[in-house]
Every structure is written in structure tokens, then in C-alpha cells.
């Protein structure tokens, strides 16, 4: 059975239909790269999956939890999926450790000592064990994003959503974040990644989903997509971004 099932999802902002009937199934352990121009609906789709945006039609299921607009169902679903934002969104008033510990303690009622052990383990996992007590504004962008990944991992999600995780980073910091994501993928984490990093998509993704104007235009295995995209729109998109 699929881990994430997105069925006929439609989303409108006023008169503007930004998702026009999206269907997407994600199997456990799969890494999906969603690519496309800005405004194609890819970030909106990702945000719909964990309920940051409400959907107008269709349904979304994650690991047996259905996306419904009430808080109880939303929280149940969000316990299953972690989300990584373009702007990191770390809590600036808390240290790296506290950022990671907060949700396990508050949401799962994990005892403090245990939460601290989890935080240590997760920050080590993203290579930031030595930044345990640093505040976000003492960390570089790349480090902040890695703390954000550790924070999401601490909730033990079954899938992770990445919304352009490296778009706000200086070029020299992109790889440290991608490396962490590559390791996650190797460990079998199910991931949906909205990205402009074609190198990453090529190397790590099992499937590439190409979106344009609120539709999935192409959904193909990675090698196939980059080798020979079927649709004209995907060909045009690739020719534009891969010519350098």
C-alpha cells in the first residue's frame, strides 16, 4: 500500500486554481523530486500534504491518517510527516537543543532527559553535535537548516516534506544540507522534495514529478525523466535549466 496517497486534489486561491486535480502515490522509502517553474503549484501541493493549506476538493492520506481540517486529525497527520521550510523557521528564542527538544516534550510528553538524548542523537546525525547550545542567529544558514532537519527527525516521522530546502542558502552551504538529505534517503526515509537542485534530484530521487500550471505534466522514474522527457513542456523546462 502507498504511504502517501494524493487523489484528485484541487486547490483555489479565490478564482485562481493553483492545483487542478493532482494524483500522486508515494511508496514507503521512495524519494520524489517535484520540479517545475515558480508558480506551478509545487510548493502549494507540498503544503497541502501536511495541512498548511486547506484543499478544496480531493483527498490526501498519509500512513492511514486522512487529511481533515479539524485540529485533531491535522495533528495526527502531522505526527507522521516532518516538514522542512525554505526559510528554516527555527525558533529564535531557543537554542539548537531546545528547538529539537520542544515538540517531543510538549506534544509527545517525552521526559526531559529522554528528549535531551534524542536532541543529542539527532543533532549528531546532521553533524551539529557541537552546536548543541548555539542560538539560531549564531548559526550559518546551512547549519540552521540542518537543525531544522534534526528538529523534524526528533518527532520520528514516517515521511519528510522538503519545501525548497536549499533555495535560501549561499552556494557554499547547499551541499552540507544536501548531504544530510542524501543520508536520510539512504536510510530509507520517504521524502518528497520540492527543489531546483537538478543534481540532487538526479542522484537521489527515485521519481521526478514535473508540475506546470497546477498540473502534474510528467511523473517518471528519474533516469527516464532526465534522459528523455515525454512531454514538450518538460523538455522545454529541462533545456532551459540544464544548458549551463
Amino acid at each position: 500500500m502507498s504511504l502517501i496517497t494524493i487523489t484528485e486534489v484541487k486547490k483555489r486561491f479565490g478564482d485562481n486554481e493553483v492545483l487542478k486535480g493532482i494524483n500522486l502515490d508515494v511508496e514507503p522509502g521512495e524519494v520524489i523530486a517535484i520540479i517545475g517553474k515558480s508558480g506551478s503549484g509545487k510548493s502549494t501541493l507540498l503544503r497541502c500534504v501536511n495541512g498548511l493549506e486547506t484543499i478544496n476538493e480531493g483527498s490526501i492520506m498519509v500512513g492511514g491518517a486522512q487529511l481533515l481540517p479539524d485540529e485533531i486529525h491535522l495533528r495526527e497527520l502531522r505526527l507522521k510527516v516532518g516538514m522542512i521550510f525554505q526559510q528554516f523557521n527555527l525558533f529564535p528564542h531557543l537554542t539548537a537543543r531546545r528547538n529539537v527538544m520542544l515538540s517531543p516534550m510538549v506534544v509527545k510528553k517525552t521526559p526531559k532527559a529522554e528528549a535531551e538524548a534524542i536532541a543529542k542523537k539527532m543533532l549528531d546525525r546532521v553533524g551539529l553535535g557541537h552546536k548543541f547550545d548555539a542560538y539560531p542567529d549564531q548559526l550559518s544558514g546551512g547549519q540552521q537548516q540542518r537543525v531544522a532537519i534534526a528538529r523534524a527527525l526528533a518527532m520520528d516521522p514516517i515521511a519528510m516534506l522538503f519545501d525548497e530546502p536549499t533555495s535560501a542558502l549561499d552556494p557554499e552551504m547547499i551541499n552540507e544540507v544536501l548531504d544530510v538529505m542524501v543520508n536520510l534517503a539512504k536510510e530509507g526515509m520517504t521524502m518528497i522534495v520540492v527543489t531546483h537542485e537538478m543534481g540532487f534530484a538526479r542522484k537521489v530521487a527515485n521519481r521526478v514529478v514535473f508540475m506546470d500550471r497546477g498540473e502534474i505534466v510528467e511523473d517518471a522514474p528519474t533516469a527516464e525523466f532526465f534522459g528523455k522527457p515525454r512531454s514538450e513542456r518538460a523538455q522545454l523546462f529541462l533545456s532551459k535549466i540544464l544548458q549551463h
Binding site: 510527516v81 521550510f85 523557521n89 542567529d137 549564531q138 518527532m155
Partner: protein
């Protein structure tokens, strides 16, 4: 005729100032609690609660404190309620303070980036948990200076209660002036006492602002 020494005047003013302090504290604490409730309503997801809170704030910000005081004192008496002076004064000031604090704090809460709410909710926190652990601690930091600044307004606002006859600092000064015929001396002392009450508050606000900024940046 009885002679008043400066010390007599000052002593009587100090005794009356206790009521100014007590009334300010009651209004500030009561107003803070009601204001917090209003704030939660104002930023909640329920339209009805938002409107209720909005209406309350508009009403109390849009009418003079004096009218609110008259209504609390004389208005409730019309319904056969025998409202003691201190209760009417405390009630009116509490309601008035709560409206302003709620509005000040709403601004602080709304200054917190949307991404903070989104990150907290994507970590499966409930609305109240997001508020309690993520948004309010950050909002508090920016709320301190305007809140303490407003407490100065509350202290000075207590003077209005003299109109209904509540004997606090201002009422006492009028009474002492009538008895001593030394308005300049009396009012100068009163001004000094208000300043002594308010200046530490302003100073605290400045110190806290600096301290919280340091705690935030640690550099």
C-alpha cells in the same frame, strides 16, 4: 484654624498615594488577565470570538475613561446595585486597561513571522501550544517596552477616579488645597509623587528592553 505643616501635607498625600498604587496594581493585574483572554479571542480562529473581542476593544478604546467610570458607578446603581467607590473605580480601570493591553499585545503577536506558526504546527503542536511555547515567548520580548510604558498611563489614569469621589492622590490633593490654601505647594508635591511612581516604570521598561535584546543576541 488648624495649621498644616509641609509634613502634614506630604503625610496625607502619601496616605492617599497608597490608594493610587493599589488601584493601579489592581487595574494592571486585572486588566492584564482580561487583556490576555481578549488577546486569545482576538487571534483565535473563531470569527465569533474575534468579533466579540474586536467590539469590546473598540468600545473601550473609543469612549473616554471618564464615561466608563460614570457608567460603572452611576449606571450600575440604576439597576439597584450598590457599587462601592473602590469597586466602581477598579472595575472601570480594569476594563479600560484590558482593552489597551489586548491591542498592544495583538500587535506584538502579529509581528511574529507566519513561518513560526507554520513550523510549530508542522511539529504537531496544538494551537495553544504554538502560542504558549513559540509565539508568546517571542511576542513577550517585544511587548515589554510598550506594556510597561502603558502602565504609566494606568497610574496617571487613576487620577480620573477622583471625579466620582474616590480618595486617591488627586482627590486628596484637591481636598488638601481647600484646607491649606496652598495650591502650588500641594500640586507640586502631587506631581512629584506621580513622577516617583512613574519614573521607575519607564526606567524598568528601558532596562528590560536592553536585557531582553542582549539575551536574544548573546554577542
Amino acid at each position: 484654624m488648624m495649621e498644616f505643616t509641609t509634613w502634614d501635607i506630604l503625610r496625607n498625600l502619601l496616605l492617599a498615594a497608597r490608594w493610587t498604587v493599589l488601584l493601579s496594581l489592581a487595574a494592571f493585574i486585572g486588566g492584564g488577565l482580561v487583556g490576555l483572554a481578549l488577546l486569545f479571542m482576538r487571534v483565535s480562529k473563531s470569527r465569533a470570538l474575534q468579533r466579540l473581542s474586536f467590539g469590546y476593544i473598540e468600545l473601550f478604546q473609543g469612549t473616554p475613561l471618564l464615561m466608563q467610570l460614570f457608567l460603572a458607578f452611576f449606571g450600575l446603581a440604576l439597576f439597584g446595585l450598590d457599587v462601592p467607590l473602590w469597586l466602581a473605580a477598579g472595575l472601570a480601570l480594569t476594563l479600560w486597561t484590558s482593552a489597551f493591553l489586548a491591542e498592544i499585545w495583538r500587535g506584538c503577536v502579529e509581528a511574529i513571522a507566519k513561518g513560526q506558526w507554520e513550523a510549530a504546527s508542522s511539529l504537531a503542536m496544538s494551537y495553544l501550544q504554538q502560542m504558549r511555547y513559540v509565539v508568546l515567548p517571542q511576542a513577550l520580548r517585544i511587548a515589554v517596552p510598550p506594556t510597561v510604558g502603558f502602565s504609566v498611563q494606568v497610574v496617571k489614569g487613576t487620577a480620573v477616579t477622583s471625579i466620582i469621589g474616590f480618595v486617591e492622590l488627586s482627590k486628596a490633593s484637591t481636598m488638601l488645597t481647600n484646607a491649606t490654601f496652598e495650591p502650588f505647594k500641594v500640586y507640586a508635591l502631587v506631581a512629584l509623587l506621580y513622577f516617583v511612581l512613574c519614573w521607575p516604570l519607564s526606567k524598568t521598561s528601558q532596562v528590560l528592553e536592553k536585557k531582553l535584546n542582549v539575551a536574544h543576541h548573546h554577542h
